[in-house]
């Protein structure tokens, strides 16, 4: 099942849709989102993935994280 997420990349000017599946991992979301924003933001990481105000382990899946359709996820540069 497709889980559309709304992704926001630090440094970007627009939110983008990430079409994830239940078994999509946090790392795959990072890759998909940084690539989608790459016309405006340098995609080179490292990135942190945030959801519901906290950092998300990159090996966890959408299903494990219980992310719902249209939930917000953020990519922040790891400082």
């Amino acid at each position: 099942m497709i889980v559309p997420l709304y992704g926001f990349v630090e440094g970007d000017t627009i939110g983008l849709v990430v079409l994830a599946r239940g078994d999509t991992t946090g790392a795959q979301i990072v890759a998909q989102l940084s690539d989608a924003a790459s016309v405006r933001v340098d995609p080179a990481g490292p990135w942190r993935l945030l959801a519901r105000g906290g950092e998300v382990p990159l090996d966890k899946t959408v299903e494990e994280l219980a992310l719902a359709p249209f939930e917000r996820v953020d990519l922040r540069r790891r400082s």
Binding site: P4, Y6, F8, T13, I14, G15, V39, D42, F70, E71
Partner: protein
Amino acid sequence: MPAWQALTRDLDWDPTYVTERELFPEDVAGTPWLTHEQWAGWEEPYKTTFAEYARTQHEKERAVLALRQALGAARAVRGVDRAWQSVAKLHGATLALGEFAAVVGNLRAVRFARAAAWRSTAAFGALDEVRHTQIPLLLHADLVRHDAQFDFTHRLYHTNNWVSIAGRHLLDELLIASNAIELAIATNFVFETGFTNLQFIGLSAVADRVGDHLLRTTLESIQTDEARHAQIGLPTLERVAAEDRAYAQYLVDKWFWRSWRLFSTVTGITMDYLTPLAHRGASFKEFVEEWVSAQFLASIERVGLERPWYWEHFVRSIRHDHHMIYASAYSYRATVWFDMVVPGPAERAWLRTRYPESWDAFEPVWDRVTALWKEADAGVDFAVHGAAIPTFCNLCQLVLSSGSPQHNEACDLVRGGQRYVFCSAPCRWIFEREPERYEGSPDVVKRVLAGKAPGNLIEFLTRYSGLRYEVWGKDACAGDYPWLERGSGR
């Protein structure tokens, strides 16, 4: 009072076959429902007769037609900067049929407004809006055979282009669905007095400096009409505020934000990006602070209302939102019908001085765009173009580009098991006040996911958005800027 006034502007009657409430049902006439006596004394400051109106309009139309004949529309535009031509395309398309919707709105007021003078002024307003539809349609129709993008002056609202969806969402509510009172406060007071009247004055001055006589004459011809029928707003707001202050405040707050979203998008990018640097005067921020914020606050204080609750948010958005929108729109330019430019070093230096508190956050975005153009061959637009599906606000239907590159202000709301996403807290607040009014309008993403719009970009552009290669937006310089050094290390 002149003798004619009682027989024309003030002509009224007492209903005998139906009650006043039946004659002016609250659903269409508006809330609060006041008696005929309570509306007595409704007064617009500048009055006109039909004969005087027809004489003035005839002169203005002669001026437009004389310019059209003297210059020839194509010649008038040919010498104008390519980026500036996008201003005419953007305004023409969003304006022309939007004004036609305003004819419908004004005619509703002609029938259901509660004071005879208000109905009479709205009748002139309806005639005004017919002109405002026809002038850009006529002038831009001349240009279509030279530049197919001008076709969108007529086509935009007949397509599902995302700008059209956002525009229709606003204009349908503002002009087609509003009752006479909400129409007067939303359109005449907030939209026209607060934004478009000033916009037309400012923009016609810029058009003059740029040498775009066609746009200048069009805007001047329209602005004088706007100034007259915008007068409907204040006396109506005064009555409503005196009777139900909370409702008046709600309407002002709601419509200031809704109007601002459109205004910051259209006028913000016009003033700070599409106007050639040599012809720029004030920045968009300076213009808004002086002409919109100050005037608007003075007007609402006069009727005893307070500044909208989101005022700090609004002040922040003056510095950011149109920069967010422009960078986003540039990277999705094939989804619109006009061309855009990359701000070069001189433009960026100008923007830095005008936006010292926010511009630095946008530098990396334009560095990135510039770097991609250096890698690509000139004219290969899709090498510097987004391909992912952008997100849209469930209220204003514009892209989620509020806030800053550090923090996008998008927020959400779960209602009835559905998650709604908004560009900003004020848009969410408007939705929350009347969810049943808005929840049936799916944004572009939900249309795609429901299979009602194609997910494939090219299909989306051509089949859904009404665009084709000759029409869709490109880089106005094909990425071939004199300041962009291409080729080293390739």
